[in-house]
Symmetry: C2
Subunit: 384 residues, 2 copies
Amino acid sequence: MSKIAVIGVGQTKFSRRPDASIKEIAFEAFKEAVDDAQISTGDIQASIICSATHYDKQRTPAGVIAEYLGLNPQPTFNVEAVCASSGVGLRIGWSFISSGLHDVVAVVGFQKMTELSSAEVQEVMGRSGDVMWESPFGTTMPGYFALYARAHMQKYGTKPEQLAKVAVKNRFYATKNPKAMFQKEITVEDVLKSRMIASPLRRYDCCSNSDGAACLILAREEFARKVTSNPVWVAGLGLASSPMTLTSRDTSLSSFNCSAEAANQAYKMAGVTASDIDLAEVHDCFTITEIINYEDLGFCERGKGGSFAEEGQTYLGGKIPVNIDGGLLAKGHPVGATGASQIRTLVKQLRGDAGETQVNDAKIGLAHNLGGIGMYCAVTILKV
Amino acid sequence: MSKIAVIGVGQTKFSRRPDASIKEIAFEAFKEAVDDAQISTGDIQASIICSATHYDKQRTPAGVIAEYLGLNPQPTFNVEAVCASSGVGLRIGWSFISSGLHDVVAVVGFQKMTELSSAEVQEVMGRSGDVMWESPFGTTMPGYFALYARAHMQKYGTKPEQLAKVAVKNRFYATKNPKAMFQKEITVEDVLKSRMIASPLRRYDCCSNSDGAACLILAREEFARKVTSNPVWVAGLGLASSPMTLTSRDTSLSSFNCSAEAANQAYKMAGVTASDIDLAEVHDCFTITEIINYEDLGFCERGKGGSFAEEGQTYLGGKIPVNIDGGLLAKGHPVGATGASQIRTLVKQLRGDAGETQVNDAKIGLAHNLGGIGMYCAVTILKV
């Protein structure tokens, strides 16, 4: 297979953006990525526009975005896997280059969630579950993940304090990331006192609706070497699915099967194991998700995710730094942008450009991007 | 590049399906394709689910569909380019195989449009135009294409009778296709007397909202040769875009630039020219679109599309048979399914399996799948 690099990354600050349309936030991220890659728009041979649907009025947003970014008449289209949309977009971009169709591809992830009220967002999100058997009965995202939290607690003795530690870590690192939504540290006590959302998940256990975009420029090796002296290579890709309806899943509800499957694919393709990973970005839509991810990705033993968090093993200097850009919980989670934002963080780390949060001698990074209620998972391994 | 075949095709009848959910219609097409390929579900390594959004309540339909089709834990996700969704899906499936990620991929296109009222469908479709500058002012699909019809008439003298001939041809061939929505012939007079929708487009100049699904099984050569003695090869692929806002386009509004661009790419990749094509499926969402497609694809000279239709050159036995399965106008246009349905028709023809409408000695077929108001175009060339 061809060697393919991420040669440019860009991201808006994740926040509320009543001032800007989807095409404007997409442009902000795109421009930063193009500048970062030191290429021009004319070098880009295809664009892949990634977002979840129903948060704004514009259907088929690739149409307005490709036009605004100056990317006509190149191929463009929309990819959707809810929260894993841009993780999937990266896989497609990689395939377009690897198959010989293109040399340089832009993957643009975006979401503008704040045009709707919080209640409307919850209704829309609920319809990422089965609309015949689940969402009509009032399922919401926090509700789905609360089931996993309860099950994990029951099976493994995971405690609310351990969940809280994840939120504390990610809020802490967000204060080091100027593009993160939340910029104030919190304590375990703050988490445990925060408003109950879906027991046992409290306010600080949940990520927030936000607006933002992130962009990746992918290129074939020959092109990459011409424009950059520090390419970051896509070494492993995994993509897997789980049943959408909860009753069709592993009924223990204490693991996301698609995460383990996608990770295995990516590890195999990259020729590495979990212990080779220098840092990871994982999908912490809720604190429980990050804890389960540790286990599904093989960073710790099954059932030990809670104590892994409690021991601080995922801080800088721990066994494996995780979400040291703030993660979804504190950086923000404009859903279509999240996968690309994870890759951006890894690329900066692997280039040695991460400033205060730099992981020493980082050579291999992993991004884990979960879709919806755990029915899609994209895992990407990057190497220098 | 690897040689990749379409080894299985399936399609529901296009019609109104109040009896079935999206997963059920997807299953009907999928089962037919799997049976046609003489493989089992377990052979399929990834699925690409293609549809336009907002016609039904289910968000991220790949979740429910992959589950219902028994395709977990394989990769799955949604691709959207409005009416060109499954044309784009085929490109992605091809890339997944060509890049070495997978050997066998299912592309499933579907749409269930009749859950909404006709007025609601028009509102949803209007939002496939720019929601800042166009749709709030009342643009609809017939309105957009009526502008093209008027411009073509003014520039080239194209007549309503010539448009009507396209509808007459496609309704005629639909009567030979048991999977087509409309099963009655019409006359030019019927078209010219039908209700005005958006001048100069009348009822019979417009395709109809419908429900349906179509599925393609793609496979790498080695696998294809094991399971079938009549593989149909993907020889050429083109994908291009045009600006979404009309004011940013070629202001003559008498051609879809993305069609010509995508066709050029596909011709080049397949090493053929327009005159080598034995039959074509083109995107006749409106009669005027088919006429402009003749010109954009190089089947006739620029400006001569009207007389090309009038002369019957696109009937069986004419210069190039076009839409002899009924096309969107008469077979139906459940938007996400259309691209895959076009490929199904070509595959049957190239296998020599098309019965009464068989094109003699058909060796090369072309599918042209236009998205939305002409901002995406996928062209695929198949060969035996």
